[in-house]
Subunit: 183 residues, 2 copies
């Protein structure tokens, strides 16, 4: 009976375990160096059996990819001010604010360190957001740049600064990046 009952409501327990495990990863990343992050440690912190974690995610790399996907999907509302430069400036500022959050950055660092797929999970939604902003511009009859060029001009410098330098992203800098893209 217990087994059947757990089969009829798989989402309930499954979602609880996922939530607890994701929270455990985020807490451990906030607390210590990423090299101390291991599957058994995550399981202990989440209060679940290590086997459960291994069975569901396979490896630390897959777990980090899943956490990054859920953390960075839909986290930024695509701006729709009616003007492309304003949309882009607001969006760049939002991305910069997210990158200035130590917890976001710790997750991005760990995801990059764990696997190429983990790294991709941190930015896939950013490309979709750019595409949506450009779709709005096209629907207004405008001719926006390509997502590829916007990735080079906006995302490249934003992520480079966050990861490789300690430079903060000033508001004037956001405008400068958008100007470079649109001129």
């Amino acid at each position: 009976m217990t087994e059947i009952s757990s089969h009829t409501r798989p989402g309930g327990r499954s979602a609880r375990v996922r939530g607890a495990v994701h929270r455990a990863v985020e807490e451990l990343l906030a607390e210590g160096p990423p090299e101390t992050l291991t599957m058994p440690l995550v399981a202990t912190r989440a209060g679940v059996h290590p086997t459960t974690v291994y069975r569901r995610w396979g490896s630390l790399a897959e777990l980090l990819e899943d956490v990054a996907t859920s953390r960075f999907s839909g986290d930024i509302v695509v701006p729709d001010t009616g003007a492309l430069p304003d949309d882009l400036e607001r969006w760049v500022t939002d991305v910069a604010t997210d990158l200035a959050d130590p917890d976001s950055l710790a997750l991005i660092r760990a995801s990059i360190g764990s696997s190429p797929a983990g790294a991709c999970a941190c930015t896939a939604d950013r490309h979709a957001q750019l595409a949506a902003i450009f779709d709005h511009e096209r629907s207004r009859g405008g001719h926006p740049p390509t997502v590829e060029r916007a990735t080079d001009t906006l995302l490249g410098p934003l992520y480079y600064r966050a990861i490789f330098t300690q430079q903060p992203a000033e508001p004037s800098w956001a405008r400068e990046l958008v100007d470079t893209l649109l001129r």
Copy 2:
């Protein structure tokens, strides 16, 4: 006597240990997922006692920073063709070639994952190389852009593509980036 002799030639043994440990890190990164890289494993592979590794580097983060510093310092000869666009195009192509090497990329990923300092060690020399290219231009009476703008326009997209996308860096793309910077 042995002690005195080891004191009079500290560089010999010390340099050998450093070489063996660096090689061990590079081999282990090439072989498996970065989460399996630990100080004891590095020591075993290098054939030295774990205590030696811990005493010298303190943590995996410090060790990776040291390996990245030595790997990415002086690895690219600063081009001096006599013309800024050619210098930059050659340099961008060299950086892109380096980033296309799976071993370089594995070290960069692991360094980013381990600590902010590890990440910085991967690119510090790139900024010095740009400064040298711009010094050459100034000595010819030219007015080059700032290193900061070149970092945004060249290094940002180069590292973003290498880390977050699977897109290869085409030669025409290198020219495009340089054009964007100099126009």
